[in-house]
């Protein structure tokens, strides 16, 4: 794995609220902001943090399924609506299911590395609530192999894929320990989200989160091995930031104290038509993260802040193992021992993660980068964690499909 040929910085991050059920102001029958609103809000949120929009050279937008959720294609062209100076600039939309946001980041990074641009606006967006969850499940199933899997698949296609993983883990490692770790993961996610006013679960008022997380799965109406608390919710939202060269960062006037430097990344993609080689492992996540470690010259022991793609509680736990934070089969212990809590030694998903913050699918990868940026630059507000001096690195994992398209990035403060 080659090293980055020059410094690349991330700055001026912005997340919209993750909107959907759970937010007090959400009502399924009331009008809501659409795709255009979220793209504009996130883009403008970035522009307010830089000195002039004209310095943006290009744009990348990550999105999964606007063509079905919103009947809208050509999203790159919607980015131009953010600011008049964007007219006729190069913009591109990228897609890798729920890893689209991650691809938005690495596509921007490569453009900067190629010297073709100094400042990229990277956005990730998804607006899913126009479609009821049962039909949204059809749309999200597009992250699997339609011809090979959909007909035989479950009504809730993706939850069932991770339910199968949970079932395999129960069988191999014992039900109680895994189930309890999943419930603790849920509890941890909600406790973190309650500190984040933009999180979908910010208003969550369940008294006993662990008990809720322990709700026995009901295969008659949902999945065999997971309950609804094990799942991220249906979300609307967008995130954005700039990706810049040294010169680009100077041009937009963002001080290094408010920027992070990318020091390694990995993109790994597995064959969509094939089932996971092992249901109890996130193999592609492992490949992607280890590419990033290699590029950065680091390992799991160096990471002080972690953002994993916990679309399902079991996914988050298995990613801890895939990324080397626990041995195979020991991920649940990290969670049960409280090590991944915001005040633990490996603060994980400190703003709520996908379970707590929300999961606007194609935008989540960018959201994760924004949150790592805020943590490493001390701008995370009530969600701020202590970043240890001897482990000053932040790792994020953005995953599309059932461990199919994975982007991992490692950052450190640019100051």
């Amino acid at each position: 794995m080659s090293k980055l040929r020059k410094p690349v910085y991330f700055a001026a991050g912005y997340n919209t609220v993750s909107f959907g059920s759970g937010r007090k102001e959400f009502h399924p029958k009331k009008p809501r902001p659409g795709l255009e609103h979220y793209i504009n809000e996130s883009g403008k949120g970035v522009l307010e943090q830089i000195n002039d929009a004209k310095h943006i050279d290009e744009g990348v937008i990550g999105n999964f399924m606007a063509a079905r959720f919103n009947r809208q294609g050509n999203l790159a062209s919607l980015m131009v609506n953010i600011h008049p100076s964007f007219e006729y600039k190069p913009m591109v939309r990228v897609e890798g299911a729920c890893g689209s946001g991650g691809l938005s980041l690495t596509t921007g990074v490569k453009t900067v590395l190629s010297d073709m641009a100094d400042v990229i606006l990277s956005i990730g967006v998804e607006v899913q609530n126009p479609v009821k969850a049962i039909y949204g499940a059809d749309i999200l199933a597009g992250a699997g192999h339609y011809a090979g899997e959909r007909k035989v698949g479950h009504a809730y296609f993706f939850p069932s894929k991770f339910s199968d993983r949970a079932g395999a883990c129960y069988e191999k490692f014992g039900y109680d320990r895994i189930r309890q770790a999943m419930a603790r993961w849920y509890e941890q996610a909600i406790l973190n989200a309650r500190k984040n006013p933009k999180a979908q679960e910010f208003h969550n008022s369940i008294d006993d989160l662990f008990a809720a997380g322990m709700t026995p799965p009901n295969p008659n109406v949902f999945c065999d091995h997971i309950n609804v608390y094990d799942c991220s919710k249906v979300s609307d939202g967008a995130s954005a930031l700039i990706i810049a060269s040294e010169e680009g960062l100077n041009k937009v006037g963002v001080p290094k104290s408010k920027a992070v430097e990318l020091i390694g990344y990995g993109v790994a993609v597995a064959d969509l038509t094939k089932p996971p080689p092992d249901q109890t492992k996130m193999t592609t996540v492992g490949k992607s993260v280890h590419q990033a470690y290699e590029m950065a010259g680091l390992g799991p022991k160096d990471i002080g802040v972690l953002e994993v793609h916990d679309c399902f509680t079991i996914g988050g736990i298995l990613e801890l193992e895939a990324a080397g934070f626990a041995e195979y089969g020991k991920g649940p212990d990290l969670v049960l021992e409280g090590k991944t809590r915001a005040d633990g030694p490996l603060p994980t998903n400190a703003t709520g993660g996908l379970i707590g913050f929300g999961h606007y699918t194609g935008g989540t990868g960018v959201r994760q980068a924004v949150d790592v940026l805020l943590q490493l630059t001390g701008q995370a507000g009530d969600c701020q964690v202590d970043v240890p001096a001897d482990r000053p690195y932040g790792l994020m994992i953005s995953m599309g499909g059932n461990d199919k398209t994975v982007v991992s990035c490692i950052f450190k403060s640019a100051a």
Partner: protein
């Protein structure tokens, strides 16, 4: 004849009404599933109603409700349609099932079409003579093996059996409103009801995923036996409070006491409006007629019916005004019978004063909705009523009296042989009325 065979030909009478349409929906779904398993057989549900116009609305209602049900049951439906290669996405399957459900239903105003029905579900007006007349006509058309399921909530089944001459081929099958949602069905066999009918009724309940609670054949049965007497306690309290409150204020106060202080899903006057003020009057009359020595009558209810302010629901399910005025199905005012107009709630004015007179909620209080899904609700209810017992605000006093009366009514139903036991009374109130606790308990002891 097995249940599956009987489900080949079914009639629902009063199909466009709020109970009938729900029963049609429940049965049609099961018939559509049978059709999938037995594609060569014909399945017909005759949805009979006297109103052509209401039947027009029925199809739209069924389409929407069948779609909703299919969305909810999609996990199971994917299994049912697993051999249909053209149905891949949930959307395809839900649309197909909805179409299959609608295709078994034959909306009609012609009673004659029921001639092949093996099961007849009756959900027409709560009038003994009308029921007997219609059932007699159907019985003259149908085979003598046809079974009858009446949705009456008050008329004794033996009266209908004797009146029509069904010789025990009838049973009370009292669905709760709305039938598609409510889990409870009260099952009321007359002494003459054939064992086959009773057995089949249990089988139907299992198929429709309903919880059966049996009641003896005494007018009003368990559900209305409690509800009507609960109403009389509330309207009586309104009169007794006339020194303290105006009638409008007292109705507001009792509604609040019965909902908030007793942690019920609705206040008593909202529930009367939901069921229909006139329906409640009718049920009281039926019960007074058929229970020796019992007279159930409320001046307040009579006055409302005289004014033709009778609650009930619009075709779209939204709440009509009755004792209370509604906006978006939420109470916003109280009807002033003298003036013939509504007095709007005024959170900074008169309603606030009443709230203050009633006093604060005792410690441990939580709204019904919050406790509904709470796994520790039993402990929390026990703790709350423990506090209520020791509070002496006006609201607490009214609540305690209400609570004790509700318990006495429940015990009376057992003592009078209406309910088989206390558990059944509590089961009807918790499953049919969505109370969090049954009236026969020791919370205040």
């Amino acid at each position: 004849m097995t249940l599956d065979e009987r489900l080949e030909n079914v009639a629902v009478i009063g199909a466009a009404g709020k109970m009938g349409s729900g029963i049609v929906l429940l049965l049609a779904q099961e018939m559509a599933k049978l059709k999938l398993k037995n594609p060569d057989k014909g399945y017909h549900l005759y949805a009979v109603d006297i109103s052509e116009k209401d039947l027009d609305g029925l199809t739209g209602y069924l389409q929407a409700q069948a779609t909703k049900a299919a969305e909810k049951g999609c996990v199971m439906l994917r299994e049912l349609y697993k051999d249909r290669d053209n149905l891949v996405e949930n959307y395809d399957i839900i649309a197909q099932f909805t179409s299959d459900v609608l295709s078994v239903i034959r909306p009609t105003t012609e009673l004659a079409l029921t001639k092949n029905a093996c099961m007849v579900f009756e959900a027409i007006v709560e009038d003994k003579d009308v029921k007997i007349k219609i059932l007699k006509t159907i019985d003259s058309l149908c085979s003598k093996d046809t079974y009858y399921f009446t949705n009456t909530s008050s008329i004794p089944i033996h009266i209908l059996d004797e009146g029509v001459g069904l010789d025990g081929r009838i049973i009370g099958y009292h669905f709760y409103n709305p039938p598609a949602v409510q889990k409870l069905a009260e099952l009321i066999p007359a002494k003459t009801t054939k064992k086959n009918v009773i057995d089949l009724s249990h089988e139907i309940a299992k198929r429709l995923r309903k919880k059966i609670i049996p009641s003896n054949d005494v007018a009003g049965f368990v559900g209305n036996g409690h509800f009507m007497r609960d109403i009389l306690h509330a309207t009586g309290e309104v009169e007794r409070l006339s020194d303290t409150f105006s009638q409008v204020e007292a109705i507001y106060a009792l509604n609040k006491v019965s909902q908030d202080f007793l942690i019920r899903p609705m206040g008593i006057f909202q529930l009367i409006d939901y069921v229909g003020v006139e329906v409640c009057q009718l049920i009281m009359k039926v019960m007074s007629t058929h229970i020796p020595g019992v007279t159930l009558e409320s001046d307040l209810v009579n006055k409302m019916v005289d004014k033709n302010v009778i609650g009930g629901q619009y075709a779209d399910g939204s709440q009509k005004d009755g004792f209370l005025k509604y906006e978006k199905n939420r109470p916003t005012g109280v009807y002033d019978i003298e003036k013939g107009a509504y007095v709007a709630f005024d959170p900074d004015g008169w309603t606030k004063k009443i709230d203050e007179k009633l006093g604060a909620m005792p410690d441990g209080w939580a709204p019904w909705r919050k406790l509904l899904m709470d796994p520790k609700k039993d402990d929390k209810l026990k703790a709350y009523f423990g506090h209520l017992k020791n509070v002496n605000t006006l609201g607490a006093q009214l609540a305690k009296a209400y609570f004790k009366q509700s318990k006495a009514i429940g015990e009376g139903l057992v003592n009078d042989g209406v309910a088989h036991n206390a558990e059944d009374v509590n089961g009807v109130l918790t499953n049919g009325f969505y109370h969090l606790y049954g009236p026969i308990n020791n919370y205040l002891d």
